[in-house]
Symmetry: C2
Subunit: 501 residues, 2 copies
Amino acid sequence: MLHKKSQIQKGSKAIHLILNPRSVAIYGANNSGASLACIQLMNIIISGYKGHVYPIHLKLESVMGFKAYKSIADVPEIPDLVVIVLPPRVVPQVFKECGDKGVKRLIIISGGFRELIGDRENPLTEEINQIANDYGMRFIGPNCLGVFNNWLDPQNEGKLFNIAIWEKLKRNKFSIASQSGTLSSHIFFDPENLDLGLGKSISVGNEANIDIVDCLEYYKDDDETEVIGLYIEEIKRGKRFLELAKEITPKKPIIAIYGGGSEAGNRALTSHTGSLGGNSKMYDAVFKGTGIIKTNKVQEFLDLALFFSRGVLPKGNRLGIITNSGGPGTMLANNAEKKGLIVPELSESLQDKLKEMLPVTASFKNPIDVTFDMNLPYYYITLPELLMKSGEVDILVQYGVVGFQDVMDNYLKNEKIAAHADFQKQDQEKSAELAKKLILPTIENSKKYSVPIFHISPQNLNSPWSKKLRKNGAMLFKLWDRPIGVITKACKYAEFKRKHS
Amino acid sequence: MLHKKSQIQKGSKAIHLILNPRSVAIYGANNSGASLACIQLMNIIISGYKGHVYPIHLKLESVMGFKAYKSIADVPEIPDLVVIVLPPRVVPQVFKECGDKGVKRLIIISGGFRELIGDRENPLTEEINQIANDYGMRFIGPNCLGVFNNWLDPQNEGKLFNIAIWEKLKRNKFSIASQSGTLSSHIFFDPENLDLGLGKSISVGNEANIDIVDCLEYYKDDDETEVIGLYIEEIKRGKRFLELAKEITPKKPIIAIYGGGSEAGNRALTSHTGSLGGNSKMYDAVFKGTGIIKTNKVQEFLDLALFFSRGVLPKGNRLGIITNSGGPGTMLANNAEKKGLIVPELSESLQDKLKEMLPVTASFKNPIDVTFDMNLPYYYITLPELLMKSGEVDILVQYGVVGFQDVMDNYLKNEKIAAHADFQKQDQEKSAELAKKLILPTIENSKKYSVPIFHISPQNLNSPWSKKLRKNGAMLFKLWDRPIGVITKACKYAEFKRKHS
């Protein structure tokens, strides 16, 4: 039974249903683990998915404990979603069988649809698209890594629909649409990005049917998405992309990597997706005109996502620097000015206020160097608050939030030191209480005064004190390089938003 | 008894002895842990230092298990080195007592020597320098964090002299001299820099006596130093610095951060060291003219140190990119070309050789996208070797060195999967053997053909497979951003070296 084109689902609606299926059939999985389909099925299992799962397999009775079916026709219901990891030549036939069953949404993981076969063109993309159109089906791919939805059950953070990502990620409102599977799925293992998390992610692959513009349309009205990340190699529907981007950016920041532009980059694209990457300058202009935040570094993409997920935007581009060490303060000031940020000398009256509290060897002008002689409540709470309230700076970076007691605990591991030291191991419970008391007021003040604050510690992000700061919401970095780039782009976006909303 | 100036030790000789003392006296330490001197003494203890240690304390009988002395005069020998952490006003008297004892080398950790006292100038620096000259003493500081020497016993990697660094670091031939204590001591905790290590480090502080030029002079002829890292805020002896730098750079790379240049940066410097930072453009010119490798990022400073510590320099600036995923390959190519590197299209004959081995969906031009269909020995050994041998590329970046078995092991933690999977947990011993077999030949080839290779994995650097690769010498990165900047600067330095040696 064929369906008319008018019955074809809107891309954004199809995406919503693909991210929230009540049942899934999967082609290509077995029990050996040695295929993408197996990994995807195992991802479904460990994600605690409660919908029905139907592996389709010609020979196996069961796959990973699920009853297997010889054909989609045998499945006892119409699955909400079908995932296909099969050699491309058999996909048209599978598409027809799915269409006959009444399936409306699919994901094709496998590649090999656009690449040349010897010297001949490969008509498979057109073939499956025609079948999909005939049956009123929508699909993601081919040549993609699937989807991830941390919001399957909004009431329950533990429940998700995930066929794409190996790692468990905290839930937030940052969502990705990507023309690279790696950028949608494999960038989350960084020990420096422990606090980011993810909302939704869609690997669009070759975009034979659903494209990145559909994703943008979906994210535009999605309440569970507040920050959007894109990896773009080409945009096929440029006009609609521009319209959507202009509509979205005054409300939700869009962070984008554009992967084309150079000769070798375009050569890679041609091989990778069969398409031409286009002109880098054109994309630069598009991004600038629409207020899209552009980056060419994955790390900055993630850092920007972390920053915007916190939801505090600066009111200007004046940076206040608090440090307990000269070198990092100087480098921060230097790099900030080079990027066009302002590091203002503080007013006499504000300096006088700071002088009351700081030792004589301290510096009050900005960078504010408190030296090592510091009291913690002043350093963590009072000093940032004085600066936030002053109206003289719009963003703060604070270097030196060190867990000094962790350092001491480490020395006590040495027998000789333990035998002679007057001090003792810290009480972890008290220390956790202290971290909370020191950080929460500043996080609150950051929101109240709309002054973002970056914390930087020379210690490992997984050191006990660092973990406590992060747990209470500190945006913590290990070194002082990365915040400056993020701040520069955050300020530009904040300015754009002020002008356009 | 006063000494004539002619008896004053050369700075570089004094540095050698300060880094290798047979005995140390330390002022300011107690058992409470609450001072820098305590930390330094505890660092000495955990470093396994076997020389004599003499805490000087007016009241305590013993400090951290060492017999304490009321005055330096009571110490039963002339200590090779004296470390002072005391309020600045008492330091001149301590200096005189040390001089009377016959002490020749000191480190002053405390600050407060150059800063204004109210509105008056502070003459303490001149005062202690005069005393040092009168007694023929040399000293590091004031306002510094001390020194670190991983080569105290060249035959024994476990033995070191360390009063500066909290963490145990692998030994290598990368040595630092820094006008910021933080840059000399607190940048090594990064989980992304596990493989770097350190040879020696000197925090020069305010340089009242021994300066960064002395350090350069020392490192120039030091067999245990092959790569030099500098953090510079100002150079007082510019002429000698230039001479030395020109002499060193054709043999040993110098990586430098210059912390001045901007208005706020100079303001921070004025507060921090009491000196003027000077002109950024002047320093740019100095660095360029002398072949010094400049960076303004700590992370890049560390990455460059890691790269140069491996000792393989590229013969040109043509980059070969191997990937199993399109996105990272495209981004690498793009960013490389933007930085002026060449990503050459490979010759037909080389492409033909690659085609024999790679699946039809792969791409052979450069980036070489092997797709997911790969055999490990080909991917890790044969493919890099084909490229290294070809003479068509000078550096390689390989994305996707994934520990797929780690991923599988992780799924097996799930009970349902474990109950139904046909595959089993990997044998860690076999896996370690495999990593060795796959990586070592490529590391050897890298040296043989002088083609550096960067490995990139989306997995955490501490994941089991990543650890195995690192253990066998792979230069492993988590994301693909950072190698490009390193490669660009490495190529420039290699070109400089070819011209100047």
